[in-house]
Subunit: 417 residues, 2 copies
């Protein structure tokens, strides 16, 4: 009987509230500025990854959503770098599996065309599940620094709750140092702030956009405002956001989140040629949030946008129904919005998403909703998917061996057609 090791893990998506954009070191994926994110629940948005190690595998192989990606065994790629760094750690820890190769199958649960970055949960899950398979002792902070080399924002998906990705230092601590102090740390866990809830609005985007990998380096090269932001604005915001989270100060959290989202997109616009991720629906949702807060008489909600038109709204749980009513009034198609299946609802308040899913959905306070949405043009379907989440936990090991995406020989159980 040949030796082998097998493990299956899941990892979450995270949504930045102080934005990462641009690298000061492209080779090592070191960011121009620190960032902070909130980890979403894995109930609907997660990556599942199975790893099978064997001394008989002649090379690393990886299947993503059932389709093989040759980059795992191609020297110099980001994927190969993660494999190599994990094995280097295993070697340093004196682990006998350190010379084995890995077969990896990975799957994203994301709703079709959700436009949500899959590289964050994907590379986090890869680093975490490889570490488990190789039996590493290293903590998640170390794994986070390795995931970062695969995809920057992946480093934040090694932790649940509220997570900071540290800018790190400028000089390597040793010739072998690949971390530069630039990895994620947990600021607070997912249970820290009970009033916090999250809506993800999937906004239709017919137009092509710029990939973030190429876009961010164009910004670094051409935007004077980005240079100033990274050096002078973000460091103060990082500190203010840490304090807002520690104190559960929603006003400060929300205002910083909105300001930072807007400033990130401002630097995209200041790029030459300019990069556009927000469309007219995104802009209406931004203005709707400001108007919503005015109507509520307090800051109850905050939007943030990554490199796409999808609106993520952090919101106090008590305001969820009023917000949902407004979004329904403007964007809900006659047949209701997609909401990613019943499983997703288990995270929701009973009073929120079951109501949305019902055919006879009606606002709780029709007059207030009508007044709120009056300046906007209804566009049913312009928001064509809506997800509800609470802050969620970090990567997990799935104990059930039946959950593996690989068979006993380390080959994928299913392949993409």
């Amino acid at each position: 009987m040949s030796e082998s090791a097998s493990v299956t893990c899941t990892a979450p998506v995270n949504i930045a509230i102080i934005k990462y954009w641009g690298k000061r070191d492209v080779e090592r994926n070191l960011p121009t500025n620190g960032s902070i994110s909130v980890t979403l629940s894995q109930k609907a948005l997660r990556t599942t990854t199975s790893v099978h190690l064997s001394p008989e595998h002649p090379a690393d192989r990886l299947w993503l959503n059932g389709k093989e990606d040759a980059n795992a065994s191609r020297a110099g790629t980001r994927l190969a770098k993660v494999f190599d760094l994990i094995r280097r750690l295993a070697r340093q820890e004196g682990n006998p599996r350190a010379e084995w190769h890995a077969h990896v199958a990975s799957h994203n649960s994301f709703p079709t065309a959700a436009g949500l970055a899959s590289s964050a949960s994907g590379f986090a899950c890869l680093a975490f599940s490889l570490a488990k398979a190789y039996g590493l002792q290293a903590g998640n902070d170390v794994l986070s620094g390795i995931a970062r080399q695969g995809s920057g924002s992946a480093c934040r998906s090694l932790f649940g709750g509220y997570v900071a990705w540290e800018h790190g230092y400028e000089e390597a601590a040793s010739p072998e140092d690949e971390d530069f102090g630039s990895h994620a740390v947990q600021l607070a866990d997912e249970g820290h702030w009970p009033e916090m809830a999250i809506f993800v609005h999937i906004v239709s985007a017919e137009k092509k956009t710029v990939s973030s990998t190429s876009g961010m380096q164009t910004t670094v090269r051409t935007s004077p405002l980005h240079t100033y932001r990274a050096a002078h604005v973000v460091p103060a915001r990082m500190e203010a956001m840490r304090q807002a989270i520690a104190a559960r100060d929603f006003d400060a959290f929300a205002k910083l989140t909105m300001e930072d989202s807007n400033q990130f997109h401002a630097t995209c616009l200041d790029t030459y040629p300019p990069i556009f991720y927000l469309n007219d629906t995104s802009r209406d949702l931004i203005q709707l949030v400001h108007r919503f807060n005015e109507q509520q008489g307090a800051i109850m909600a905050a939007y943030t946008y990554d490199a796409g038109p999808n609106a993520v709204v952090y919101i106090k749980r008590e305001a969820c129904r009023a917000w949902l009513d407004a979004v329904a009034a403007l964007y809900r198609p006659a047949n209701g919005l997609r909401a990613n299946g019943d499983a997703w609802f288990s995270d929701a308040h009973d009073e929120v998403l079951p109501a949305w899913a019902a055919a006879d959905y009606a606002p709780a306070n029709p007059a207030a909703t009508a007044e709120l949405v009056a300046p906007f043009q209804a566009a049913p379907g312009a928001v064509d998917g809506l997800l509800f989440s609470l802050p969620g936990g970090g990567p997990e090991v799935i104990a059930d061996p039946e959950a593996s995406l690989l068979d006993a020989a380390g080959m994928p159980k299913t392949l993409a057609n």
Copy 2:
């Protein structure tokens, strides 16, 4: 027979290529940064103003487009300030009319709902025509500093061609100094750069926007990027733009113009709450210009946007037809676009706008046009007006007394219904 003095003048619109946004002194309308503009031809876009002075007028009165504006005689308003500064100059010059009051009628030729700022040509025309009526010796630079107090960008409409509005100094030169060195100077006249042409695209905007007067001070107060831009980015761009104009370097002119438009709108987005002036059509036109330049193999066109969705495109004359073909392919309604009457065409190349106006309009090179517009969605009517202009001259005195908007008694010949 009673004494009186009567004069009629016209003044042009100008479009900034280095943008003004925000005041360092609201009282005096002193800008946070200098700016540079190009004056448009007055053939279609102009303000006409008639002034009638008489010792028998008990107060200043002003009719704008036939409707009286009470601000002319209301102490402390911007209008009253312009009247007072002109009379102060008249007094300093020992002019016997210095104590007379003025009746003023003013009319804008602008196409309905063009969304083009009327305050620039309006206050420029007011300062210029009052100066002529009072018989002032002061030059246009001095009048420019007075027009600035009515509306910032008006100071640039005192000159034709390429015009810089100087930032000015921080301390008044004397207790009476209202100018602070902040007025316009001509960099080059309208004949300086024969290859330069201009298209104004009137973009439909159904949504409400923020008025520039209130919006710009919110930006000054809340946008860290604006503060940096005004102090550190604009001064270098002012100098680079002066050089580009002097050297007729279209590449440098166009790149600076596009970068500065984008950076201005970036600071609007960095405002809290954010200010949006560009819509999806504006953004498509921006991307169309970049794609157009790529297809042409050289920078032939540059967009700029003021506080609204209208695209102004500075373009080499030789590229006008190809650009018009692209705009027609995407935006021309079946019945052709409004183009502001035949008079406007007299400024155009024969091969350009008459073709556009024809019912059987067709692109000169259908394959090239089709390739250019392929990534964009056609939206007939989203550009619902198109103006063609060359750089134009400064304010003019109209010699024909029949052209006056006021009768012999100084009352408007026509009033608004």
